[in-house]
Amino acid sequence: MKKIISILLLVLAVPAALAAETETPVKPVLTLSAAKKAVEAAEKEAARRGATVVIAVVDDGGQLILLERLDDTQVASVEVGIGKARTAAIFRRPSKVFEDQIREGRVAALALPGATPLQGGIPIIIDGKVAGAIGVSGNTPQEDEEIAIVGASAVSETETSGEKQ
């Protein structure tokens, strides 16, 4: 009797677990320590170039996890840096994509809610998923992005770049 019940329970439990997995799949979460690793790498790259920048890391919802403003960086870069990171995270692509679209004539991209369509935001990809993003602002757009790529690569499993495929 006991055995039958436990088998029944087992049979019932398996589909429940399956259902849970389809309804609430697990996603990778960017930790503070991973964010620190990314910022550290980006900071080193900025120092190597003598660049004064803001480096921001956000989670997959575009919310800040970690930010550093290197000494003597223009303060306006704080909001721009966060904006680039948020754009890369919530649109799941480098923010340069939108800057390119607008330059090529798709002015409507300016109306995208929550987007800062400026080069320098790069998604952080873990287990094939965008777990967050890094945004850099303060220098030339090209340099900002290169520094962001160095930061993202320190934790991302794949190289990411804003270059058009």
Binding site: V29, L32, Q63, L64, L66, L67, E68, R69, D71, V75
Partner: protein, 286 residues
């Protein structure tokens, strides 16, 4: 021609003077300082076992300098912590002040723009100047948010770079140093170190300093210095100081000008034989 130069020079000087009167200097917080604040707040969060927390540091203009969000903290905490820090910096008061004012009936104050009147934001004060602020959100309560912020702010005030930059420099000129060596006397004694100009003309007693490490540099004369072993008839002569007749066991060394000897705290030492006056410079570190 010379007159023109003179006039130009006078003009130049008066310009410089008026510029000085129109521009004041103020301290500014560095990223290193901001990170000291965050580290201090993080340590407090760990100590209090806080369930989470976002710590934001802004400069005196309310612009974000550094931010860290502890794993698992609600995401909205990021913006709230920045808001608290900004409010504390721009209004130059802890944000609890405004929360209380509003609670006590001045509801219209919530109409202020760019204003987060929630407990947990504290100005960063260095030498009486506000250099920025720290804001915390996401801990167990508004009260705990503020505790973490205060811990962060005090970490900055206690950090050695903040105090030490203004510490006085000690200068003792050679005349005074020579005079001290002639008698054998301390050059300076402060809480964490002492510097002595020592002179010995005969054998000493066995000594143990329980807290001070002696760093000795021999300048003149020679002696037999015994270290280690045990002090014979040792008595506590002064706080943290044991003296005795001699050392039994121990390792003898002939010391001469130019030698450096480091005697760690707690190690017995004894000038057993002294040939002529021995002059040595000692730094005692506790």
């Amino acid at each position: 021609m010379k007159i023109i130069e003179l006039v130009l020079a006078i003009l130049f000087i008066s310009c410089a003077v008026s510029a000085a009167a129109q521009v004041a200097e103020k301290k500014s917080l560095t990223l290193e300082g901001a990170n000291t604040v965050i580290t201090g707040a993080m340590a407090e969060a760990e100590k209090l076992n806080a369930p989470g927390g976002v710590i934001a540091v802004v400069d005196d203009g309310g612009n974000l300098m550094a931010l860290e969000r502890i794993d698992g903290t609600f995401a909205a905490g990021a913006n709230i912590s920045i808001g608290k820090a900004k409010t504390a910096a721009l209004f130059k008061k802890p944000t609890k002040f405004f929360e209380d004012v509003i609670k006590n009936g001045r509801t219209s104050m919530v109409a202020l723009q760019d204003f987060t009147p929630l407990q947990g934001g504290v100005p960063l004060v260095v030498d009486g100047e506000i250099v920025g602020a720290v804001g915390v959100s996401g801990a167990a309560s508004a009260q705990q948010d503020e505790e973490l912020a205060i811990a962060g702010a005090s970490a900055l005030m206690e950090s050695p770079s903040a105090d030490m930059s203004a510490a006085p420099v000690t200068y003792i000129d050679s005349g005074k140093v020579s005079a001290a060596f002639a008698k054998g006397m301390p050059l300076t004694e402060v809480a964490n170190y002492k510097v002595h100009a020592s002179r010995r003309t005969g054998p000493g007693v066995a000594e143990v300093h329980t807290k001070d490490t002696d760093i000795v540099y021999v300048l003149e004369g020679s002696a037999t210095l015994v270290t280690g072993g045990t002090v014979v008839e040792g008595k506590t002569a002064a706080p943290d100081e044991i003296r005795g007749r001699e050392i039994s066991g121990g390792e003898p060394r002939e010391i001469k000008p130019g030698d450096v000897i480091i005697i760690p705290a707690g190690v017995p030492h004894w000038f057993k034989d002294v040939k002529g006056p021995v002059l040595y410079y000692v730094v005692k570190v506790s």
